[in-house]
């Protein structure tokens, strides 16, 4: 089991070409991939710090995203501001349970799953745990893949705002919660992007190397 880093190589993020890392590299120098000119890093630079910053920002914005109304639907003088949760409850009361389930998964379940997964992954690296690295990598891949689908609620609001404009009788106006929720989705997408799953495997290798050294290799 040899990784690129232990072999003194660096793999290009885009084209996966392996390059030799110069021996005496200065601290701030940047090397570029000979094949696609992308800047090369053995691990994403500042991965943990950046992911923490983006995740904490997302966690903070998650509060206004859920407490403030995302939109107000007024039909023939009736209607009140709706939050994400009250929108789901309203759909459920109208008997549209498949729709309620869909919005629940996209707007409530996936964002929470994403925030908790990223938090768990970051903590697992800080505590250098060896717990199921393969499963953690799979969790990371799922998080990265499903995150964008949370945007569906924002798109529904945009479509309703564009379509339901009938003067005083029926209007839809977006609320403060909508940009906050969109920001949560974007920040978690960036957080998943800056997180480097190779860090999950690094702790295991360091340990293997240590034990090999102890055996007088």
């Amino acid at each position: 089991m040899i990784t690129a880093r232990t072999a003194g190589l660096v793999s290009c993020h885009f084209c996966h070409t392996l390059s030799k890392l110069p021996k005496n590299m200065e601290a701030n120098s940047v090397i570029h991939c000979p094949c696609c000119q992308s800047s090369l890093h053995s691990r994403h630079p500042d991965s943990l710090r950046r992911t923490w910053a983006l995740l904490i920002a997302a966690l903070i914005l998650y509060i206004p995203a859920n407490t403030f109304p995302i939109m107000t639907f007024i039909y023939l003088g009736e209607g009140q501001p709706a939050t994400i949760l009250s929108g789901v409850m309203h759909l459920l009361e109208s008997g549209l349970w498949p729709l309620a389930l869909l919005i629940f998964i996209a707007s409530i379940f996936i964002p929470i799953l994403k925030l908790l997964t990223l938090l768990g992954l970051l903590l697992s690296i800080h505590f250098k745990t060896h717990w199921r690295p393969k499963d953690r990598t799979v969790m990371y891949r799922v998080t990265e893949f499903v995150g964008r689908w949370s945007m569906v609620d924002i798109f529904v609001i945009a479509l309703l705002v564009a379509l339901v404009q009938f003067g005083n009788s029926a209007t839809v106006t977006p609320g403060i919660g909508a940009p906050a929720f969109a920001a949560v989705v974007i920040l978690t997408m960036f957080a998943a992007h800056t997180f480097d799953p190779r860090l999950i495997w690094d702790t295991i290798e360091t340990n293997q190397l240590d034990s090999e050294d102890n055996n007088g290799k």
Binding site: I154, V156, A158, L159, V161, V164, Q165, W201
Partner: protein, 216 residues
């Protein structure tokens, strides 16, 4: 299916050694036969795909997609008929109406994810694939393709498709929803985009660059 006995159905992956992007393990990739996928031994990430005829197929889907994308933008996607009035919604009005309602950032987000990134993806992919096909790559090929790869997740038309379905059901009982001309083109556009992302093999482009720059 065309087969040539002197040519076994294998492509030169050029880089036989690859480090897994998810766990950094160095592995040797054996020659792959048609439609075979190489997975990482340790974390099961996809390392390499050998897709049959991927450049031509992707080019076909991208050109189809671009034509359908233009049609989708020309006509209304949905119209709403209520109280004797008709309100039409196109791709662009969906993005711009948020601006009029005092949400410029959301409007920009809609504009980027449903118009600008899908358009750059389609035009850029056609440009790059034509370059690869005609063996005509220049110094802009790599930066453009890197840009396309990094903005890939931000084109969200398939999510808009789901949002359209939700809107249809939501508005169904309070108003008459008229399906617009563009909606049919839009459905086909989603299909070609899905097929494009499935058939496109980034290593076709990277391999060309590796040959040109004699590296890897």
């Amino acid at each position: 299916m065309k087969s040539n006995s002197s040519n076994p159905p294998q492509i030169d992956t050029q880089i036989s050694k690859i480090a897994c992007p998810d766990c950094d393990l160095i592995q040797t990739i054996p020659p792959l036969s048609k439609n075979q996928i190489a997975h990482c031994l340790r974390c099961h990430a996809t390392l390499f795909k050998n897709q049959e005829n991927s450049i031509n197929r992707s080019l076909a889907f991208a050109i189809t997609g671009l034509i359908l994308f233009i049609i989708s933008n020309l006509f209304p996607l949905l119209s709403l008929k209520a109280l004797g009035l008709v309100q039409e919604g196109t791709l662009l009005t969906a993005a711009l109406s948020l601006f009029n309602e005092g949400q410029p950032l959301l409007s920009l987000l809609m504009l980027l994810t449903t118009i600008i990134f899908p358009a750059t993806t389609l035009i850029g992919t056609i440009y790059i694939l034509l370059q690869v096909k005609t063996n005509n790559i220049n110094r802009y090929t790599a930066p453009i393709f890197r840009f396309l790869r990094s903005t890939d997740a931000w084109g969200m038309l398939e999510i808009l498709m789901l949002a359209i379905l939700v809107t249809l059901v939501k508005l169904g009982d309070i108003a008459d929803v008229i399906l617009g001309t563009s909606l049919y083109a839009f459905c086909l556009l989603i299909l070609s985009l899905t097929l494009l992302s499935h058939s496109l093999n980034p290593h076709d482009v990277w391999n060309k660059l590796r040959t040109k720059n004699r590296c890897g």
